[in-house]
Each structure stands twice: as structure tokens, then as C-alpha cells.
Symmetry: C2
Subunit: 414 residues, 2 copies
């Protein structure tokens, strides 16, 4: 324990931003470490950008400029492994194993595919990657692992009936800009307009089905810790110890030195409550839910109003979608060990964690209550637990979110 | 002058890599600063990747997975502004003006569009950008400038009849990975297979037309220094003085500290032989040649065997295309001031400069000699100078390149 905890009072909507407190009167925000949960600055910067064909959809949907077909639309989507790349680097430096670099391809790719699946796009996909590295620090063999990882991941998707065609990409040696490594992907899809999940069906009275982020899906090689590739600025610095700061100055921004690697673990330490080490949990590959969502939409598509991928923004992601809604999530999954450890750490504010991490279900489906059981059954057929975690209610003003975590309740507003 | 120069003997093909010499017996390579001209490591890492439909084309060409049309193909291409972003950052820090960030959008976008134009793709294009920043250093207003710059650049292309549809992109706060700023773009096109410049027509006996990199094109707002967005690791450190190293430790990799900012200029200094300052020259936006190439191919497409965009690899880019060819370039443009200054610096080896920078023409068209005059005329109609800079001859073995720069001759092999 590194300080006193001061939880935000439950039951009161606050200005987002203030997160957790290390000492009374000394709040530390996610933003203090140079990351952003709500990306307010970015949203401000893109004001005036065209919202696309379906402004309420999870991703921006464009007219099919490529073929001119009025019946189709296209999506072009960019995302990456974020600062999770630093964990692969640390794993290599501490163990000599390059294998963790391989997983970054899946992290980078799935962050795109699963966003696209939220609008009902399941390929065929076009893929391009952009790798930026400090060539003085990241060897060519690590790049070869990443590129091999893309091949593996494309093969895994193919087995699930999801076709991804890779156009290769760009690997740039940018040591003056990049401390270690950045692994980004861009994915393109073209789909019939009628298949888009537009968000227009969002209304009060719908069920929210959560797909569990832990366990081991039928298409996974091992148990998954449940993390996506977001929130890693918090995760790294909260879990990992000053050893990493002292030994590898290239793994943090000097501007946040005072808040860097303030945790108590080495990557080789056991993760309490889990059979994984801390390193294994943090490097656990980003699971794709696309095979499950594809099955769900084939079966109950008309009754699905929205699908939310709880990455940046965590459980509050839903707030930006629909109008006049209160999202009530009052029967959440028990958080998998990596999340539980954060929640039980008195230094952390649970309210903030839910704003940053998925905490137990990374994917949620807002649907007619009548199809919820069928969706749960479909998910379980892939060995991914699922349940009704909440519902939509009417809100008189802005969208709201009420989260219940045991006895605690957290409220958020758009 | 910071050391003795030891030029590579002219007329002998060498192993690429050794570049220029600051002191005898102490060679300094482009790679020593963490950048790569020939990207040997990257090429090794992607061995085994599918070469696409037209292995001899300038870009990887994929089957049209998006629509399944056997008559079409698609391209997905990634590139970025590279470390030129650091110059925009320095301009802002030294002058308080955010405007230079705006130009990074054009740099990042044109590096893609002009590569795609080399295979005969002129849109409609889909665009996505990926911006990585250190939020402690790069303000939201800078991101807004970049995003505004994309809008400007898309409008400029539209005026030239080239349609680009933007899907927005991702701005990630990655301070632990990114020292300042990375601005990448990914561009997608779908074109009829018959319109692809496949490189299959490359043979001895063709003319090489160079499109000048200096001057001011009819669609440009001011004179262009002639640089693309490549080679900036060399350019920054060779031109800019230790002032930048001392004042802004965030603009270089600590691993190359001894070679960082070893030049003699401030950005506000006049660039000798030019009306620009050093900063204006280095920040000069990456010119697109796509409007010219579109006109050229409409007029003489059947007689064009290849188009090369001389970015990374500089004048040696051609070596990777065709078989059994000697590219002879013996009537080059006089280098614009920024290149001349490097060439005349006794610390630099001209042989290396030609391997890294375009040195005077960033675009070259390999064509039937009979159409060369018409191509030159077309280019001049856009106020971009052009001339026959060389020809293809037969080579008994690997592709070779012979470059003549006045009395000096430089040879390169694939």
C-alpha cells in the first residue's frame, strides 16, 4: 500500500477525470501518466469530421467509394497494441525469449477486428500493419516474430471462417521518435449496408448480455487473463515494480518518472488468485470475440440493437451510443484475478478502473430480452461464459450509466 | 568540417552499408543512427510473405477480396511522416507556431499516394491515419492541426481529380513508447487489373524520365525544397546543431547521442543557395506527383514500363525492379540547394547520399524512348521540370545501377 485511498462517493455522477488517490488531497489521474480514458482532447480535435453513414454505429461507416455501389459501405479502421509492446520487450530482455513479440500481432489485429465486428462486419478483411521501432533496441528477429504472429493470427481467424488478406505493411526505424516499439494495424471491410448494426434500435427495455473476458475460449491455446490491449499505461505502472524503471530507462516517458513502475511485482511473480504469473497475465493475448459475434448475429441479428467493445473507456464505452438511455449494469461478472487485484488495492478507485478496463466482460450485446438466452447459449458453445449483466432504461437527459459492484454503485454521465 | 572524408572509390560496386567517414578508419553508417536505407533486416523478416498478384510491381497488389471480382485488384498501403514530425515539433517549440504540424498530414498521406500512383492507382482512395503521441509533450491543438491538415490535403487532391475518402483514424497517447509524435497513414485502392503497372515490360533500351523535385508545381502554394518524408534521420542530424540536442532531449534516441544533431545550423538560419531557411527547407511539404502521373499514364500508359518513387533507397530504388538490367542515370538534375549542401560537405559520401535521398528527382518513369518527350511536356504543364536522366541497358547478372554526378561515377548492385 503506497498511500491512503479516497473513493469517490457512490451514487453521484462526477466530472470524469479524477481517478484515484495516493494520498489525501493528492489525486492522481490516468491522465497524469500521459494516457487518456475518455480521449477528450482527441474528440475535440475531430469536431467537424464527417460522422459517416450511420452516426450511431460503433465504427465510422463510409459510402462504398471503392466500387460506387449504393447498396454497400466500407470501413477502414486503425488501432494497435498500444504500450503492451513494452511488456513483450521486457519479457525478452528478462528471459531472452522473443516469443512474446509474436503475440503483439494478435493484440494489434484483434483490437481492429473486434471493433469492426461491433458493426456487423466479419470480413473478408484487408490488413496492413505499421511497425515503428528503435532499431538500436529492437532486433530484426523481433520484427520477424511480429510478422510471423500476423500469419498465425490470420490462420486462426481463417479456421473460424473469418478471412483476412494481408497487404504487408511498413516497418520504420524511428529511434528518435520511438523509444522501443509500436505495432499498429489498419483493417478494411466492405459490407452490405443492410448488415450494419447502426445503433438506431437502441431504446429502453433492452437486455445487456456480457461476454466474459476470462476463461479459455474453444479457439484459444490457453487461459486468457481477460485484458484487451488498452489500459496498459495503468496496468504496467500499477503492477510492475521499480526494478523495471531502474533497469530499463527506455520503457517510460521521463515526464512521468515519478509515477512510473510504482507496483510491487516482477513479471515472473505469481499473480495472486491465478495460475499465471504477472507477466503471463499482462501478456495474455487479446481475445477475439468475432467468431462468437458472427454466430450470434447470424442467429439473432434483427434483435441486436448494439454491440460494444469495452476497450478504451472500459465499462463506460456504452455512454456514447443511443439517446436518452440509462445503462444499468447490476449483475456483473466477478472480476478475473488481474482485475480483482486492482479493485482490491486500496490505492485504486474502483470507479476509475471501470472507466479504464473491462473488469470482466470485454464485449457486450444490447438486445431484445427474448434473444438473450440464445446469445448466452451461443457464446457458451465457444466456451466463453456469458450472462445478462444489465438492461437499458429511460433517461430524461444525457445518457447515464449505473454500475453496481457488490454493495458499491458508480454513476457516470456522457 | 568535423573530420576527414574518405570517398568510396568510384567505379566499383561495393557491399551497401558503409557510408561516410568522419575520421579515417572510423566509418559512420546511416545505420549507426538507427535508420536504414536498404531495410535489409525488414526484408529478411518478411521472407515467405506472399508477393501478391504482380510480384514485379512497385507495391504489393492483392486479389480483390473485398468484392471477389476477378477483374479487379486491391492495394492497402502504409507509410508515414517518419521523423520529420520532430521538425514540426521543434518549429513549434522555437516559434510558438503550431502550423508546421499541419504539414505532417500531407507528408504522411503523399508518401502513400505517390507509391500507389507508381502502380497506376489514382483512386478513389480510402484513408485512415494513426497518430501516436506523448501527451505530456504534444498538445491536443497540435493533433487538431494534423487532422485539419488531412482535410486540406484531401481538398487539394480533389482539385486535381483525385478522390480520397477518410475514415478518420486512431490517436493514441503512448508516451512510454513515443517520445514526441508519430503520424502514419494507411491508404486503400481498388483498380482494374488491366490498369496495373506490373513492371513486366521492363527491358533494356528504355528511357528514364526524371521529374524534378525542386521548383514549385502548379498545385503548390510555394517553392518546394525537394525532399520526401524519408532520410530525415540523416537530414536532421547533419543539418541541425547541438542546440537542439541540448535544449530538447526528447528529439533523439539516447542510444545515438554521440551522433545526434552534429550539424551547424539553426532552423531559422538561411539555407545557403536558397531563399528558404533551413527549417523551411526541411519542413517543405512532400510534393505529390500523382496529378502528373495520372496525366502521363492517360496519355502514354501502354508505353510506360515502370514508375519509381525514390524515397527510402533514394536513387537506388530501381535496383529491385526488373531483371538483368543496368540502370544508367548519367544526366541527372543539378541537386536543389538542400541536396547540394550535403553533397558538397566533405564529411558526406555522395555515394551514400544517392542511396538515401532523391538528390533531385523524386519520381522517375521508365518508358519507351518515343514517349519521353510527351511525358516531359506533360510534367512541365504542371510546372514541374522533367528530362531524360538515363536509360536501361542489359546486365549479364544482377540488376546494376550506374550513377554519374559530374565527373564522379557510382555503381550499385542489387
Amino acid at each position: 500500500m503506497r498511500g491512503l485511498c479516497q473513493e469517490a462517493p457512490a451514487g453521484r455522477a462526477e466530472t470524469p477525470g479524477l481517478l484515484y488517490f495516493r494520498t489525501v488531497n493528492k489525486p492522481i489521474r490516468y491522465e497524469d501518466r500521459g494516457a487518456s480514458a475518455d480521449k477528450a482532447e482527441v474528440h475535440k480535435a475531430i469536431v467537424g469530421e464527417h460522422p459517416g453513414l450511420f452516426p450511431g454505429a460503433f465504427c465510422k461507416v463510409l459510402p462504398d467509394t471503392l466500387t460506387g455501389s449504393p447498396d454497400h459501405c466500407v470501413l477502414v479502421h486503425a488501432d494497435g497494441a498500444g504500450t503492451k509492446s513494452i511488456l513483450a520487450y521486457l519479457h525478452w530482455r528478462e528471459t531472452g525469449e522473443l516469443s512474446a513479440f509474436r503475440g503483439l500481432a494478435q493484440d494489434s489485429l484483434v483490437m481492429n477486428i473486434d471493433d469492426l465486428a461491433c458493426v456487423g462486419a466479419f470480413g473478408p478483411f484487408l490488413l496492413s500493419n505499421t511497425i515503428g521501432r528503435n532499431a538500436k533496441i529492437i532486433p530484426g528477429d523481433a520484427i520477424a516474430e511480429i510478422i510471423g504472429g500476423y500469419r498465425d493470427c490470420i490462420a486462426m481467424f481463417a479456421e473460424q471462417g473469418i478471412v483476412i488478406e494481408s497487404g504487408g505493411g511498413e516497418t520504420a526505424d524511428l529511434g528518435d521518435c520511438v523509444r522501443t516499439l509500436v505495432v499498429d494495424s489498419t483493417v478494411v471491410a466492405r459490407v452490405p449496408r443492410t448488415s450494419i448494426i447502426s445503433g438506431e434500435k437502441l431504446r429502453p427495455g433492452l437486455a445487456i448480455v456480457g461476454l466474459h473476458s476470462g476463461g479459455r475460449a474453444s479457439y484459444e491455446a490457453s487461459e486468457n487473463a481477460g485484458l484487451g490491449s488498452n489500459g496498459y499505461t495503468m496496468l504496467r505502472h500499477e503492477f510492475l515494480s521499480a526494478h523495471y524503471k531502474a533497469t530499463y530507462p527506455e520503457v517510460y516517458a521521463p515526464e512521468i518518472a515519478a509515477l512510473a513502475y510504482t507496483g510491487k511485482y516482477r513479471m515472473s511473480d505469481a499473480l495472486p488468485g491465478s495460475s499465471m504469473t504477472v507477466g503471463q497475465a499482462l501478456l495474455s493475448p487479446t481475445r477475439t470475440y468475432a467468431p462468437i459475434l458472427k454466430a450470434v448475429l447470424a442467429q439473432a441479428g434483427d434483435a441486436v440493437a448494439a454491440v460494444f467493445h469495452n476497450t478504451g473507456g472500459g465499462q463506460t464505452k456504452c455512454l456514447r451510443f443511443g439517446q436518452g438511455l440509462t445503462y444499468v449494469k447490476d449483475d456483473l461478472f466477478a472480476p478475473p484475478p488481474v482485475f480483482k487485484l486492482l479493485r482490491d488495492n486500496p490505492v485504486m478507485a474502483a470507479r476509475e478502473l471501470y472507466r479504464t478496463l473491462n473488469m470482466g466482460h470485454r464485449m457486450e450485446i444490447v438486445c431484445e430480452p427474448s434473444v438473450a438466452e440464445g446469445i448466452i447459449h451461443a457464446s457458451k458453445s465457444f466456451n466463453v461464459d456469458a450472462k445478462v449483466v444489465g438492461r437499458t432504461e429511460a433517461s430524461s437527459g444525457k445518457n447515464r450509466l449505473v454500475l453496481k459492484d457488490g454493495a458499491a454503485e458508480y454513476q457516470y454521465e456522457l
